[in-house]
Amino acid sequence: MTSAPPADARGRARRSRGDSRRGDSVFFNLSRGSGILLLVIMAAIAGFLAYRSFLALGKNEGNFLTSFEWTPDAAKPVFGIAVLTFGTLVSALIAMIIAVPVAVGIALFISHYAPRRIAQPFAYLVDLLAAVPSIVYGLWGVLFLVPHMDGLTSWMDQYLGWTYLFDQSSAGVPARNLFTVGILLAIMVLPIITAVTREVFRQVPRMHEEAALALGATRWEMIRTAVLPFGRPGIISASMLGLGRALGETIAVATVLSTNSVLSLHLLDPGGGTFAQNIALKFNEAQPLGRDALMASGLVLFVITLLVNGAARMIIARRKEYSGAAA
C-alpha cells in the first residue's frame, strides 16, 4: 500500500523527464538551426556583394575610395565612394545629435514624469511614428519641410556662418541639403530610440529609485543618479539601432536631397549623396557594370554598418560591468 504511490510517482517523473529531454533536443536543434541559418544568409549576402563588387572594381578607372564621380557606365568608367561615405556619415551624425537627446527626454517623460493616463496614449503615438512609410516622410520632407527650412537656414548662415559648416554659398537656394536630411532622419529614428530607451527606463529597479529619493534626492537627481546610469547601455544600443536606420535610409533621402558629386563641408549647400540614396536612384537605368558598381557601394555600407554595430556592442559590454549587470 505504502510502496505503490512512490513507484508511480517515480515513473511519472521519469516519463516527464524523458519528454522534457526530447523537447530540449528539438528546441536546441531548432534554435541552433535558426542561428546557423542567419549566419548562412549573412554570408550569402556578403559573398554575393563581394563577388559582384570584385567584377566592378577591376574595371574602375578611378580610385574607388577617393573618387568623387559616379559614372560607371561612361566610356571611361569612374566611380568612387568618397562623397557617398561623407554624406552618409554626416547626415546620420546630424540625425543622432538631434534625435538622441530628444528621444531620451521623451522616454523619461513617458516612464517617469507623465501621469499614467497621458503616458500610455503618448507612447502609442510615438510608436505610430515608426509605422509611417519612409516615402511619406520623403514627400513630407520635400513638400513641407524644405520650403519651411528657409528661415532657419538663413538664420544659421547669418549667425553661425563663421563655423564654415553653416556658411551658405548662395542665398535663395531650396534647403535640399545634408542638414535638412539630417533633421528628417532624426524624426524618422526618433520612435525607435524612444521605444527602446523607454523600456529600459521602465526596468530600473524600484529599489534604486526609492533609495535615491529616501536619501533626499529630488526627482531630477534621482533620474541622474539612478535611472540614467542604469539605462546608459540601453540608450547606447537604442541609438545604434536608430543609427542603423539612419545610415541605410533610402527613399526619404533620395526624395529630399539634391545630389551632386561634390564633397563639401558647407552643410547648408545642396549637394552630396548617401550610399542607399545613390543605389536607389542609379539602379533603374544602370548597365551591368553600373549595377556591379552599386553592389560594391552596397558592400561598403554593409561593412560600415557592421563596424558601427560592433563598436556599439563593445561599448555596451564594457559598461555592463559596472552599471546594468550590477543591479
Binding site: Y124, V142, G172, P174, A254, L257, T259, N260, L281, K282
Partner: protein, 381 residues
C-alpha cells in the same frame, strides 16, 4: 483596461483612415478611366467609333511588356482602351527602365520591350538567340518632347538657344540678367537674381535627350557627351520628373527640363527655343511632330531607328524632340503571343491610338512615319 481602450480606439481611427483612403483612391481611378475614354473618344470622332478601330486578335492571351518608364503612361492609356475592346487579351507592362526592358526581352521573358534609345549592335546580336531566324528591331511608337521650364517672377515668355542653355546648365551663366540671355529676350525685364538650374538626380532618358541636344546644338559649350547621368557643373537635383516639376514650382528663378506632360499638368511656363529659324520655336506637340517628320531613319531593314536632328534650323521644328521605341522580333516572335502583339501594336500606331496619347502630353507620330511603322508591324512573324 485603459490601455485596451486606447488601442481599440486607435484601431478604429486607423480603420476609418484606411476606409477613407480606399474610397479616395477609388475615386481617383474612376476619374482617370473616364478621362482616358473621353480622350480617345474625342479623337476617334464618336464614342462608338473609337473602340471599333481596335481589331482584336482571333485568339486572346497574355502579352507581357517591360522597359521605359517614359512611355509607361502612354501604354497605360492604350491598355485601358485595348482591354476594353478585346477582353480576351490581357496586357501587362512593367516599367523598370529601358535597360531592364531590353535585358528581359533578350532573355525571352517578354513579348516586347519599351526603350528610350535604339538597340545597340551588341543587343541586336544577343536578341538572335530569342528571335528564331530573326532579330530585334526598333519600332518608333511614342513621340515626346523635352520642354525647358522656368519659374521667374513676372516673366512668362522666355527665349533661349543651345549655347545659352548649355552655359546655364553648366553654371557658366549664373544670373538671369546675363547679356547672353538679355540679347535673346529684348524688352523682357529679367531679374538680377541667381539662376537655380535644376536637373534630374537619377539617370534618366530625359537627361539623355537634353544633353544630346546640348552636345549637338550647344556650340561647344557643353563639354560632356550625351548621357543619362547628369554631368554638368553646379545646380540642384531632384528625383523624377514629378520631383523636378515640384521643385521648379516652389523655387524662384529656377529653370529645368521635363517632358511636355509634366509642364502642362504642373502649369509651368515653357521657354521657346531660338534654333536659327526666323522665329523662336515654341514647345508644342505640333512643332515636335514636324521634327519627327523630318527625322532620318537610320535603322536598316525592318529596323526603324530614327536619327533626330537636334541642331535643326527648319521653321517650326522643335529641336529637343524624342521618340521611344517598342522592341520586337522581326521574325521568330513567340507563336502564342504574336497575334495579340500585332493586334495591340496595330492599335497603338493607328490614328486613334496616337491621338489618345496626344491627349496626355505625348507627340503623335506624323502620318508618314506611322505608315512605315504599320508596314513593319504587319510584316512581323
Amino acid at each position: 483596461m485603459n490601455l485596451r481602450n486606447g488601442r481599440s480606439k486607435a484601431l478604429a481611427i486607423g480603420a476609418v483612415a484606411l476606409v477613407s483612403t480606399l474610397s479616395l483612391s477609388a475615386c481617383g481611378t474612376d476619374d482617370n478611366s473616364s478621362n482616358n475614354t473621353s480622350g480617345s473618344s474625342a479623337s476617334g470622332g464618336s464614342t462608338a467609333a473609337a473602340p471599333a478601330k481596335i481589331v482584336c486578335a482571333d485568339k486572346g492571351g497574355q502579352l507581357l511588356g517591360a522597359g521605359s518608364t517614359a512611355q509607361a503612361p502612354a501604354i497605360d492609356v492604350w491598355k485601358a482602351a485595348y482591354s476594353a475592346a478585346c477582353s480576351s487579351a490581357t496586357l501587362t507592362y512593367s516599367g523598370g527602365g529601358s535597360g531592364a526592358g531590353v535585358t528581359q526581352f533578350n532573355q525571352g521573358k517578354i513579348a516586347f520591350a519599351g526603350s528610350d534609345s535604339a538597340l545597340k549592335p551588341a543587343e541586336v546580336d544577343a536578341s538572335k538567340a530569342v528571335c528564331t531566324g530573326g532579330q530585334a528591331i526598333d519600332l518608333p511608337m511614342v513621340g515626346g518632347l523635352v520642354s525647358i521650364v522656368f519659374n521667374i517672377e513676372g516673366v512668362d515668355k522666355l527665349v533661349v538657344d543651345g549655347p545659352t542653355l548649355a552655359k546655364i546648365f553648366d553654371s557658366q551663366i549664373t544670373k538671369w540678367n546675363d547679356p547672353a540671355i538679355a540679347a535673346l529676350n529684348p524688352g523682357v525685364n529679367l531679374p538680377a537674381a541667381d539662376i537655380q538650374a535644376i536637373h534630374r538626380s537619377e539617370d534618366s532618358g530625359t537627361t539623355a535627350n537634353l544633353t544630346g541636344y546640348l552636345a549637338k546644338a550647344g556650340g561647344g559649350n557643353w563639354k560632356y557627351p550625351a548621357a543619362k547621368a547628369w554631368a554638368g557643373q553646379g545646380g540642384q537635383s531632384a528625383n523624377g520628373s514629378a520631383g523636378v516639376a515640384a521643385l521648379v514650382k516652389q523655387t524662384k528663378n529656377s529653370i529645368s527640363y521635363v517632358e511636355l506632360s509634366y509642364a502642362q499638368t504642373n502649369k509651368l511656363n515653357s521657354a521657346a527655343i531660338n534654333t536659327g529659324a526666323s522665329k523662336p520655336v515654341e514647345a508644342t506637340a505640333a512643332n515636335a511632330a514636324a521634327t519627327l517628320a523630318s527625322a532620318k531613319v537610320t535603322g536598316t531593314g525592318a529596323d526603324l531607328a530614327l536619327d533626330i536632328d537636334y541642331a535643326t534650323k527648319a521653321e517650326g521644328n522643335y529641336p529637343i524632340t524624342l521618340v521611344t521605341y517598342e522592341i520586337v522580333c522581326d521574325k521568330g516572335n513567340k507563336a502564342e503571343t504574336l497575334p495579340v502583339l500585332k493586334s495591340f501594336l496595330n492599335y497603338t500606331v493607328s490614328d486613334a491610338g496616337q491621338q489618345a496619347i496626344g491627349a496626355v502630353g505625348y507627340v503623335p507620330l506624323p502620318a508618314e512615319l506611322a505608315t512605315k511603322v504599320k508596314t513593319q508591324i504587319d510584316a512581323l512573324a
